[in-house]
Each structure stands twice: as C-alpha cells, then as structure tokens.
C-alpha cells in the first residue's frame, strides 16, 4: 500500500464520518466539529507516557504499591492547566510558543530556550531509543537490528507523510496504549483498594517516597510538550472559533494520559509490589519480572506498550525540538512541507534521530548518565518555559479577551510554583546521583 492509497483511504473515511455526522442532529454535528480538531491534545499528553515515564510509573508501582495513585488527580489538573494555556495561545495567536518567545522576549531568551531545548531533547531521544532497545529485547530481537529499524521508520513517516497522515498514525499509537489496560486486567489487581487509594491521599514522609513522587510529576509534565502542542494546533490551522473543541481535546488528552498511568501503576503494584519485587527501576526489567507473576501475555502486552510508547515519543520529541528552533529562528517548519521547502526543520529532525539512535547503539555506553542529564535539563528548562507561558498568556495585546481568568491564574501559578519546587528537588537529586556515580 503506497502513500496515495493511504491518503485516499483517510480521505474517504474522514469524508464519510463527517458527512454522516454533519447531516444529523445537533449532537452529531458537535461530534463532527470536535473530530475536525481532535489530535494535538490527545497526542501530546499521551506522549508523556514515554519510555522514561513508564520506567518511573513502574518504579512507583513496584516500590509503593497503590500508595501513589492519589497523586494522579492533582497531576491531571496540572497537566490540563498548563497544556490548556498553550493550546489557547496557539489557537488565538496562530503562532507557536517559540515564535511568541522570540517576538516578545527577544533573541537572548530564545537562544537560551533553543540551546537547552536541543540538548535536553537529545537526551530524551536517546532515552526513547533505549526504550525501543529494551522492548525489542523482550521480543527476542537484538537492539542492533531494532533500533536502526525504528529510526528509519520514524524518519520516513515524518518525511513522507502529510500532517494529517502522521496525525492518524499518532492517534492509532494512542489507542495502542490500551495494551496497559490488558496488562492491568491480566495481573488481577485489587480494584477496590486501587479506587480507594486514588481518592484518599496517603502521604509518607520518607525520602524515597518523595523522590519517586517528584519524578512522577517531572516525567509527566515536560517542557517540550508545550512547544509541540502549540505548534500542532498552529499547523492544523485551528482558529479561535474552534477553541472549545481544542480545549476538549486537551482535557480528554490529560485524562486519558492519567488513566494509562493508573493502569501501569496498578499492574506493577498488583504483581511486582505484591511479591516483594520493590527495587525495579526499568520498564524492560519490569516486563521480564511480570512473566512468572502474571503470565506471558501480561508481560508481552506490557512490552508492546513500551515499544509503542518509545517509538511514538522518538517521533514527537525531535519534531518538537525542530519546531522550537525553526520558530525561534523564523525558518519554515511543519510536517506538511516538503524537505526542500523546510530544509532546516527536516535536517534538525534527521540529526536528532541519527544521533539519538546512534548513541544507543554504542556498546557499553553509560546510558544512565544521559538519562540523569536529560532529567536535570528538563528540570532547568521547565520553570523558565512555564514562566514564559504564564507571562505570554496574560498579555492583553496578544490574547485579547482570552487571557487567564483570575481563578485560572491562581491555579496556574500555584501549579507552576509547585512544579518548579519539585523540579528543583529533582535537579538536586540528579546532581547528587551524578556526583556519587549511582545509576
């Protein structure tokens, strides 16, 4: 099947759904309007559950069982609040986040954002390809075959696909996250306990617990996602009239992201934690440990989820970085353009993938150093980006009547300050680990 056929298929499917919906009553029409916008929010928030994320959730579940589930509710709110501001800016101004930072804060700030963005994201891309390697190992495939294959696949997808095609592929990847639902079902968790622990906070004052909690927040809200989210709303040409749909997209995304986290945590809590395996730090390790505990299928679905998540994130992270730099410099950017129309964009994308996949392929490379580096980098980058967002979204000359309301501002600033404090902890911990050489 070549791209034209796929294109036609998508066209026909969309056309059919849209005419079906638009011919019908009020509700059908509303759904059709929503379908035209849906994508960026759901995709961006699901990519948060990348290889690093899954590792962190596994750690949380295996070490503390159900005890961390309560944090998912405030995290959903934080995720929604921060992402909603970006989607609003994209929809109202029609410009990317990096565009706005350059135009409103000048070259120096943008330069800092671009350089940190590039380095941090490169670290993250390495982590994603390491995730591909770990998942491939469980399926019995060598990383020297799996990683180059994955790199070529994600490269071709973005290079040859149009925005719409790529978005469809991403949305399908989002559906594959449901494999964690099956892993959770197959591991027979205590649903009542899980439900209770989600609603009732249980706070332990113990260093390990706090560090894991911090990592949980740090991995879920990452700075690169704001750039990607805003850029894709802009590339999709979603206008102010479609803002309600865009907001719904972001809300659904934040919730679905957290539902997946919920399943991962209860899966590992019901198996690893219940059988005393509390020292698992890696998603691949977790999948292997699942085999004797919950059966081969639970392990395989878990590993499949990891593979899907890693591939997905290995596509989006370089895209986000390319957007950050191209918008900042004013170069043409976007999946809809051809290579020769947006050379800087595609070269950046290519370099990030080649270098990211290349580092994973080096035998005996100390990957943990790269992970800590990108974690610390995220921590340094996040507060700055969030403060930029909050300053920009409250600018009357940019946003008109769409600036934050007082209540929203209070929630957003509290979230921002809380996140900033948490990431400081994370940065401190990373530096400590680096200095003492513990992986």
């Amino acid at each position: 099947m070549n791209l034209t056929t796929i294109n036609n298929l998508i066209d026909r499917l969309r056309g059919r759904t849209l005419t079906f919906f638009s011919k019908g009553n009020q509700w059908r029409r509303r759904i059709a309007l929503f379908l035209a916008v849906v994508g960026p929010g759901i995709i961006t928030s699901n990519v948060d559950n990348d290889a690093g994320g899954i590792a962190t959730y596994t750690q949380a579940g295996s070490a503390y069982g159900y005890a961390m589930l309560w944090s998912l509710v405030p995290m959903t709110i934080a995720l929604y609040v921060t992402m909603e501001m970006c989607s609003r800016m994209g929809v109202i101004t029609g410009k990317g986040l990096s565009d706005l930072i350059r135009e409103e804060f000048g070259f120096r700030s943008t330069f800092f954002v671009m350089i940190t963005g590039f380095l941090v994201d490169l670290g993250n891309v390495v982590a994603e390809f390491a995730g591909v390697a770990a998942a491939a190992q469980i399926f019995g495939l060598s990383k020297y075959i799996a990683v180059p294959m994955a790199a070529v696949a994600v490269w071709v997808l973005v290079l040859k696909g149009t925005y719409r095609q790529v978005e469809v592929v991403f949305l399908v990847a989002c559906v594959f996250y449901l494999s964690y639902l099956f892993s959770a079902l197959l591991s027979h968790p205590d649903w009542m306990l899980a439900a209770r622990m989600t609603v009732i906070p249980s706070i332990h004052v113990d260093t390990g617990y706090l560090i894991t909690l911090t990592a949980l927040v740090g991995t879920t809200i990452a700075p690169w996602q704001f750039f990607y989210l805003q850029a894709s709303f802009v590339e999709k040409k979603v206008g102010p009239r479609q803002y309600p749909q865009a907001r719904m997209d972001v809300l659904l995304g934040s919730i679905s992201c957290m539902v997946i986290v919920f399943f991962i945590i209860i899966c590992t809590a019901a198996t690893l934690h219940a059988s005393g395996l509390t020292n698992i730090s890696d998603a691949g390790e977790a999948a292997k440990a699942l085999i004797p505990l919950a059966g081969k299928w639970a392990a395989l679905t878990f590993a499949f989820g990891l593979l899907n998540a890693s591939l997905f994130a290995a596509t989006i992270l370089p895209l986000s970085t390319a957007h950050v730099i191209c918008e900042g410099m004013g170069f043409e950017a976007g999946i809809d353009h051809k290579f020769r129309e947006a050379p800087a964009f595609y070269w950046l994308y290519t370099i990030l993938i080649v270098v990211g996949a290349g580092i994973v392929m080096i035998p005996n490379v100390p990957l943990w150093k790269i992970f800590i580096f990108s974690q610390v980098g995220n921590g340094v980058w996040l507060p700055i980006v969030v403060i930029f967002i909050l300053l920009l979204v409250n600018r009357k000359d940019l946003m008109g009547e769409h600036t934050n309301t007082l209540l929203f501002n209070v929630v957003a600033w509290v979230t921002a300050i809380f996140m900033i404090l948490l990431t400081f902890v994370l940065v401190g911990q990373g530096i400590y680990q680096w200095a003492h050489g513990v992986g």
């Binding site: 029609g94 350059r102 000048g106 070259f107 120096r108 040409k237 410099m329 004013g330 000359d397």
Partner: protein, 468 residues
C-alpha cells in the same frame, strides 16, 4: 458601477486589468517583488546580500540603551526605542524615545540629533526643547515592530527573522539622520544581540566582522506588522500585494496567522478583497468575515459575485449573516437572500445572477454596441442569453459565433441547438450531466414562467467537481 434591469450588474474591470498588465511588463525586471510569479525556486532569495558592506554601519542593537546628552552636555536619559514614520520618509529614523527613569519619557526628532555613536547620542538642542512622548499609531517602532519579527518570501514561506537593523548615517550641516539600510538576518546580528551589554562593544564589533554577512535591503522589506490590537496592517505601500493574482494572494494568506490575514484583508481595497475571499479556503473565509467590522464586510460582500457571497453567508452563523445582509444595499441583499433560499446542492445554489441577456430580435451589431457601453465582467460574456418578446428564455449565443457572424445577422439565427435550460430546484448532479452531455460552457436557469434568472458557468461546475 452601473446596474441594469433584473439584477444585471456591471463592474469596470477591463480598464484596470489592462493597466496592471502594462505595469508588470515595464517593471518586470526591476525587483523580485514585481515579477514574483516568474521567480523560480533558485532565484527566490536573490534579494539577500552576502559579503561586507562598504563603510561602517551603525546597528540598532548598539544604540538601544545609549546615553543621550543635550547641547550643554547634560545627561538626558537613555534611548529605548526608535521610530520610523513611513508616511513621511520610509527609511528615516524620525524619532528617538529617551526614557528618564521615573520621569516622563521624551522624544527627540531626527533634526535634533547632532552626533550618533555606539552607546552615545548627542543632541543639538537643550533638554527643554524636547517633546514629551505620546504613542503614535502611524509610527513604526524599530524594536517592537521590526526586531525579531518573521520575514516571509513572496511565496508566503517563512524565511528567517530579523536579528538586527543596520543603519547608515546621513550628515547635513546641523544634524545627523539615521536611515535604515538593511535588516540583518545573519550571524553577526545574532552574535550582537547575544553579547550586547555583556561583552565590550568594541570586542563584539571586531569579532562579528569575521562572521559571514547575510542581510536584506530595506527596499525589499514589505512590512506586515501588528498594531496594538493585534490586527495587522501594512505600513509600507501594499502595491506589491495587490499585484499578486488573487489566487496566489489567497494561497499566501493561508500560511499566515489569523491576525496577519485579517490585516492583509483590511489593507486591500474591497474589490481585491472580494476576489481574494472568493479564492480562500471556506473555513478561513468565514473566520475572516466574522472578525471583520460588519460594515466593511458588507462592502466586500457587495463586490463579490452574488453566488460567491451567498456561499460565504451560508457558512456563517445565522445572526452574523442576517446582520451583514442588513448592511448591504437592498437590491444586492435581496439577490443574495434569494440565492440563499436555494439548497446549495441544486442548480439554484450554483447559479450566478449576473449575466447578460438580450432580445432575440436584435441584430449582432446592436448587441455588440450595447455590450461595449456596458463594461461587463469578461467572464460573464462567454455566452449571451436570448429572450423572446414575452421575456421568456429562447436560447443562447456563444461569443465566438457572434464574432464570426455578419453585422446585420439577427441573434435568433445565431443561437445554438438544442435549447438547454434547467430549473433552480434541479440537483447539482443533473447540472453536471447536462454539462457533460452537451459539452456546455454555460447553462441557463429559468423560473416557472420560463424567464432566465441566472446562469451556471463551467468554472462553477469544475470547482464543485474538484471539491466533491
């Protein structure tokens, strides 16, 4: 604009188009903007200058924060912004904004400046002679509106952003004028922006000389610039935009942000705006019209062909479209309302109510004479509709056949067989089939009394088929 019976509407396109064509041929070689449709990919960056410019330049970055001293060598304040007054002189820095901490900021006019050097500006008047700063809509702020802004090429693609603005000095007896020579889009500008205020200015100047230059001459910068309300207007002549074919302009606009689109439409005259809107993507069109001042929107709609206007209004919310129809002159509004009453998938929804019809008893010469006086829109003259003595539809005459006919030949002798027409409630599929079967270029729509009420032309059919 003249108006005939039965909603016959006439534009004066002919003269205008000829003028434009002439302009293109004479100016075609002057600059890339005037010949952009012929510029190929390899040449589209020919306005970029590489290599060092002769003579020393001053850079906007070096002057931001410069200390200003008055004629008695007293410190006045620091320069925070420069303004250009495009209406007066498109490249001269006309005003300097001098801030004085908690005191009211002052403005120095260009003829009050006697010396300019990096980090220092000397005035030839005393501090008391300076005016207090008042924001001015007509001024272009170099820092706010030019630095860091996006540059797009003539095809609407993003190219790069403005890193710095290069200024050249013009000395006269009493004062120094600064002229914008070019905008820096290369590494030296970026380097300066990064290090200004951190490293010594002399060192920055020395090091940047080693970097490759890349800049755009000011004459080629056609500024699309946001005003405080975030609408965008063009400060400098927008002739260049209007020289573009409406379809090209529409394509370029699709790449821009909503605010920029709004600005471009606002800057165009109604006739051009109408043509551009007709070419734009439906979704964008409704977005633009909804954000527009209703009066202006109604003026643009008036310029559009009634069928295009009806299509546009059909996509708008009911209140908005009603409001716009209120604003339009009664006759036009009635026409559009009538078209709106037809389902868009019928012949009535496709037809255009502007068309030429003549009596079948008139001679070829009479008709041509009448047509010459009317100044019709050329697309509408492909085929002429004939009516009989009861004003009922009696046939059509293609223009080509009229050209070849003898002057005194009657129109009734020239009409094409068979007599094809359609009622407004017929489905669009029927229309397509008729066009296909009889190889039509135009199909007449008639009412119950067999009176012609509109025509469907082949371009309407093609765009329907393409979008289907």
């Amino acid at each position: 604009m003249a108006r005939g019976r039965n909603g016959l509407r006439v534009f004066c396109f002919l003269g205008r188009e000829e003028k434009k064509r002439k302009k293109l041929t004479t100016e075609g070689t002057e600059g890339p903007q005037s010949s952009q449709r012929r510029v190929t990919q390899e040449h589209s960056h020919e306005w970029l200058c590489y290599g060092r410019k002769e003579g020393e330049m001053l850079f906007a970055t070096e002057l931001v924060g410069a200390s200003a001293y008055d004629s008695q060598e007293h410190f006045v304040g620091r320069v925070r912004e420069f303004f250009v007054e495009p209406a007066e002189q498109p490249n001269r820095i006309s005003h300097f904004l001098i801030s004085r901490g908690r005191f009211q900021p002052l403005v120095a006019r260009y003829d009050q400046v006697s010396k300019v050097a990096p980090g220092r500006i000397d005035l030839n008047v005393s501090e008391r002679a300076l005016d207090a700063y008042k924001p001015n809509e007509g001024w272009l702020a170099v820092q706010k509106d030019l630095l860091d802004q996006q540059i797009i090429d003539t095809k609407g693609r993003k190219v790069v952003r403005v890193n710095d603005v290069d200024l050249s000095e013009m000395r006269t007896n009493e004062h120094v004028e600064l002229r914008i020579a070019q905008v820096d889009v290369g590494l030296p500008g970026a380097f300066r922006r990064l290090l200004q205020g951190i490293a010594p200015s002399a060192m920055v100047r020395k090091l940047q000389g080693k970097l490759p230059q890349r800049s755009i001459r000011w004459e080629f910068v056609n500024l699309i610039e946001p005003d405080p309300l975030r609408r965008v207007k063009l400060r400098i002549t927008h002739e260049k935009l209007e020289d573009l074919h409406p379809a090209d302009l529409a394509e370029m606009m699709e790449e821009l942000s909503a605010a920029e689109r709004q600005g471009i439409i606002a800057s165009l005259d109604e006739e051009t705006a109408a043509k551009v809107l007709a070419e734009l993507d439906e979704r964008l069109t409704t977005q633009i019209v909804e954000r527009m001042d209703p009066e202006k929107a109604a003026d643009i709609l008036e310029e559009m062909a009634p069928d295009a206007a009806a299509d546009l209004l059909a996509d708008l919310p009911k209140e908005t479209s009603d409001e716009l129809l209120e604003e339009m002159p009664n006759l036009e509004a009635e026409e559009v309302r009538e078209l709106l009453s037809y389902d868009s998938a019928t012949a009535g929804g496709m037809m255009n109510t502007e068309f030429a019809y003549v009596s079948e008893a008139s001679s070829r010469e009479e008709v041509l004479g009448w047509l010459r006086k009317q100044e019709f829109n050329l697309e509408q003259l492909d085929t002429i509709v004939l009516v009989d003595a009861h004003a009922q539809f009696s046939g059509t005459v293609p223009m080509a056949r009229m050209l070849l006919a003898a002057p005194e030949q009657l129109m009734s002798e020239l009409k094409t067989e068979p007599l094809v027409s359609i009622t407004p409630d017929a489905s669009e599929k029927d229309v397509f089939e008729l066009f296909d079967k009889y190889n039509l270029r135009m199909l007449t729509v008639i009412d119950e009394e067999k009176r012609p009420i509109g025509t469907v032309t082949v371009d309407d059919v093609v765009s329907r088929l393409v979008n289907a």
